[in-house]
Symmetry: D3
Subunit: 188 residues, 6 copies
Amino acid sequence: MELLVVKDRRVDYDGSAIGSHWAYRNFGILGNSLVVFRGKCNVKVGEMIDIEDLRQSKEIKSDDMVHYIVEVFDLVSTLFASTLQKLFIAKLCEVLGEYGIETVRKGDDIYVDGKKLSISIATVSPVSVKIHIGINVEAKGIPEGVEAVGLKELDITDVEDFMEKTGKALAAEFEKVKKDSLKVRWAQ
Amino acid sequence: MELLVVKDRRVDYDGSAIGSHWAYRNFGILGNSLVVFRGKCNVKVGEMIDIEDLRQSKEIKSDDMVHYIVEVFDLVSTLFASTLQKLFIAKLCEVLGEYGIETVRKGDDIYVDGKKLSISIATVSPVSVKIHIGINVEAKGIPEGVEAVGLKELDITDVEDFMEKTGKALAAEFEKVKKDSLKVRWAQ
Amino acid sequence: MELLVVKDRRVDYDGSAIGSHWAYRNFGILGNSLVVFRGKCNVKVGEMIDIEDLRQSKEIKSDDMVHYIVEVFDLVSTLFASTLQKLFIAKLCEVLGEYGIETVRKGDDIYVDGKKLSISIATVSPVSVKIHIGINVEAKGIPEGVEAVGLKELDITDVEDFMEKTGKALAAEFEKVKKDSLKVRWAQ
Amino acid sequence: MELLVVKDRRVDYDGSAIGSHWAYRNFGILGNSLVVFRGKCNVKVGEMIDIEDLRQSKEIKSDDMVHYIVEVFDLVSTLFASTLQKLFIAKLCEVLGEYGIETVRKGDDIYVDGKKLSISIATVSPVSVKIHIGINVEAKGIPEGVEAVGLKELDITDVEDFMEKTGKALAAEFEKVKKDSLKVRWAQ
Amino acid sequence: MELLVVKDRRVDYDGSAIGSHWAYRNFGILGNSLVVFRGKCNVKVGEMIDIEDLRQSKEIKSDDMVHYIVEVFDLVSTLFASTLQKLFIAKLCEVLGEYGIETVRKGDDIYVDGKKLSISIATVSPVSVKIHIGINVEAKGIPEGVEAVGLKELDITDVEDFMEKTGKALAAEFEKVKKDSLKVRWAQ
Amino acid sequence: MELLVVKDRRVDYDGSAIGSHWAYRNFGILGNSLVVFRGKCNVKVGEMIDIEDLRQSKEIKSDDMVHYIVEVFDLVSTLFASTLQKLFIAKLCEVLGEYGIETVRKGDDIYVDGKKLSISIATVSPVSVKIHIGINVEAKGIPEGVEAVGLKELDITDVEDFMEKTGKALAAEFEKVKKDSLKVRWAQ
C-alpha cells in the first residue's frame, strides 16, 4: 500500500474521491493506496454512498478535516471493505491512545467524551475496495444536531505530524494484514 | 454469527478445531459461528497453520486458555481472514481496556507490559474463513523463551464472565461489519 | 431473505426496481429480500435487461401484475442469478399446482394451456443478484401477438392471498437452499 | 453440459463419484458433465458429504437406483450448488409429472404419496460444483425407518428410457440456464 | 469462443466496442466471442480505458486498422484480462513470424524494426473481460511522434486472409487454454 | 513476483513442488514467486496433476532439466493458471529466439525442429495458482517414444546464465501484466 500525505496544499472532499482509481488519476499512484490530505468536507447528495444517510437526508460536512482515502484492488467485496474500515478506525483509536486521548469506537465512528470525532464510509467499485475516513480538525461547519469534537480541541495541534503518523500506522497495518495472509497454509 | 460460550466443560485445543464445519460437527451450529471455550492448548505439528512457525519449529502451547473459534462462510479469502482477525484482536483490546487494562496490539498479538497475552491464526478452508484466538488464563505451560502473561495476573478472575463479555463483543462487531456492508451503494 | 408483501397500495413496475438496493432504498429492508407487490408493468427501453428483447424491440407490459423483486447479496454471478430464477419459477408452478392449475415451465416462462402467464428477468448489479418475476392478474395491456393468461382467468381471485402464499413459498425455498449450502463438507 | 447415459453396464455408487473430475477420470468427459447410470447405492461413512447425516449416523443405501452425477466448473460455490440441485430436483418432478406421477418436492427430496423416491447431495470441490441425485428403481435395501418408493412401484418400467429422458431434460435445463445468463446486461 | 470475421463491410472503432455484450448487441453472438473487423480507429476521450493515456492526453487513432474485440465471461478480473491480452499479442507475433516477419513484443505492444504495429487495451466490465487489439494496415493517421508501421509496409497485402488466419489462431489459442484448465486436478 | 535462481545446488523435481507455499516452506519466499532450479525430473504418479497423463499412464521424467515453479496468490482459477502458463511458455520461446533458436509453441509445449524441449503443468491449490515448467538440459532419461531435445543440443551451454535470463524475463513479464491490470478503468 503506497502512502501519500499531501502537505503542500488543501484538498476538499466532495465525495468524488470515492470513485475507483482516484489516487492514480490524481496523483499517479498505481495499485493499493492511502492518500491523506486536509480540507473541507461537503459531500454532494449524488456522491453519497451510505443509503441510510440518503434515506434520512443527512448532511455530511465539516469545515476542516483530515481525510484518508484507501483503495485496495486485491479483493472486491463490501464485507471485506467494511471489515478493513473497522480495523483502520480501531488503529486510529490506538494511535489517538498514544497521544493520551481516550476514545470509544462504535463500529466505524470514533467518539471522545461522547462527541463525534470522525465520519467514514466503505464500499466497492467494480474493481476495488474504497474507504473514506474523515477526522475533524475543528468541530466547525458540522451538521446541526451532531455533537462533534476536533483534533484541536484534543490538543493535537501539529496536524501535519498527525497526518504523517496516522498515515504510516494505517499503511503498516495493511502490510501486516497482507503479509500474514500469505504465510498460512489452508485448513481442511 | 451465532455465539456459543461453552461453560459446562473444558475443551482442549489441539489445532483440529481450525478445520471447516468444526462448530457444526461438534455443536450443531450452522453457518457463521463463534465458539468460546476454555482448555489447554497444545497444537500438533500436523495441525499447524502458520508456516513461519513450522519453519522455526515453534511450539504452540499453554496450560489454560480461553479459546475463540470463528468461522465465516460469506467470503473465502486469506486477506479477509487476516483482516477480520486483526479487527477481532483490536476489539479484544478494547474490551480489556474496559477492564482497565492497557494493552499494546501488534498485528494479531496482544501484549501487556511487554508480555504476550495471546496467540492467534487466521486462514481459509475451501469453504470458509477460520480464525483461532487463544488468551492465556495463566501464563503456565508456555513455550520457553516466551514472556507471557495471563488473565489472572491481570486480575480478571471471573473467566466465565470474560468469555461471555468478549464473545458478545466479537459477535456484535461482526454483525455491525456485516450490516454496514449491506447498506452502501457501489461507487463508480 | 426478508419478505415484504405490499398490500396497502399499488406499485407500478417500470424496470427501475431491478437496480441494486431497491428494497433498502424504498422499504428499508437490509440484505437479501423479496418484495411482492401489485401494479402495472411497462418497462422503459432504458431499463430493459434482456438484450434479446432489446434486439427485437419487444415491449414488456401488462395492465395488472403481481411482481416479485428478489435481491441476494451472497454471490454476484449471472449464472447463479439465472439458476435461482428458474428455481423460483419452478416453485411458483408448484404453488399453482396446489391451486389445481396445471402449468408448463419453459425455462423462466410459465404457460397454462399454451398461454403465457408470466415474464421474468435475472441479472446482477455490481453487488448483488437481482430477479424480477411478473405474473399477470389479468391478460390485459399485453403486447400484441402474445397469447397471455392471468390469475383471474385461472380462478385465482384472492390476489392478496396469492401474493402472500407465493411470497412465503419463495422465501422458504431460498432459506432451504441457503441452509443446505452450509451443512455440507467440501469434496476432494 | 455433456450428457452420458451409461446403459451397457451397472455402476454402483459408494460416494467416491462426488470427487472432482470423476467424469473425466472415468469416462474422459472434459468440462461440465452429467453422467446417468444405474446401480446399487451404499455410501461409505468416509465419503459422506452431508454433515447432518454424519451427526445422526444415518445410512445412505438402496439396492437399485438411477444415479445422476453433475459437475459444473463455471462457479465454485455451495450456494450455487444447492440452488442448481433444487432446480434439477424440480425438473425431475416435472418430468415425472409428464409420466402422470404426482410428486411433492421438499427442497432436494422427492415424495410420492408421502414416500421418499430420491436422495441427493450438493457440494463443491476446490474446482467445481458437484451434485449427486439418486432415484430408487425399487424400494429395496433402504435404511430402516424410511418409507420409500421406487420407479417400478410407479409403473415406470423402462428404466433406460427414463434415464435417457431425464438426462436430456436436466442437461437441457442447464443449457437454458447458462444461455440466459449470457444475454442479460448488468443492472445499476 | 465464437469467431466472427467481418468481411463485407468496414467498421470503425471509437472505443464503444469495449463495453459489455457488444458482440451480442451488434452481431447476436452469445457468450465468449472474438470479432475481427477492419476500419478507422479514433477513440473518444470518454471511451478511453487506459488511465495512463488519459493522464498524458494521448490520442489513439489510425486511418486503417484490423481490430480484434474479445469478450470472455468465465472470469471477471483485470489480472486475467491483462494476462490473456499478452498471450494474444504473443500469438499474433507467432503468426507474424509465420509470415516471415520478425517482431519484438513489449508487453501488449508489437514492434517491427523499432516501429509500432499495434495498440491494445484489456479491462473488465462488471460481467466480463474485454480486450481490444488494433493492428495498423497502413501507418497513416497515427498520432504525431509515434513511429508506426502497418501490414502493407510488411508486405501483408491480403488483409482479409490475415484477419481470417489471426482470428482462427487466437480463437484456437483460447480453446486450448480453456481445455487445459479443465483437465488438471487441484494441488494441495 | 520474487525471483530466486538456485545456483549453488541441484534440486530434483518429483512433483511435490506443485503444492501451495512450496517456495515459502523451502526458501522463505513470501507471496508471488518464481523459483528456477536445475535437477532431475521424475514425477510420482501420486503427484501427477494432468489427468490426461494419468489416464494414459504416461511417465514424466528427464535426467537433467531447468525447472520453473511459479506461485501466484492474486487469483485462484485454473483458467487464469492455464492462461499465465501459455504466456510464460510464449515468453520462453521469445527468449530462445534471442538465442537464435527457432521454436514452435503448441499450447504449453515448446518444439524445436519437431522435437520436444519442455514439459509443463498449471493448476490451482485452494489458495494459489501453481505452474511448473521443465526444459530439458539434455534429452536423456526421457520417456520412450518421445522425441526430445535439450538446451545443450541447441548450443546453450551456460545453463546458469540461461536460468538467470529466463527467470528475469518471466518475472518481468508478470510485473508488466500486473501493472497493466491496475491502470485501466472498468468498462460499461
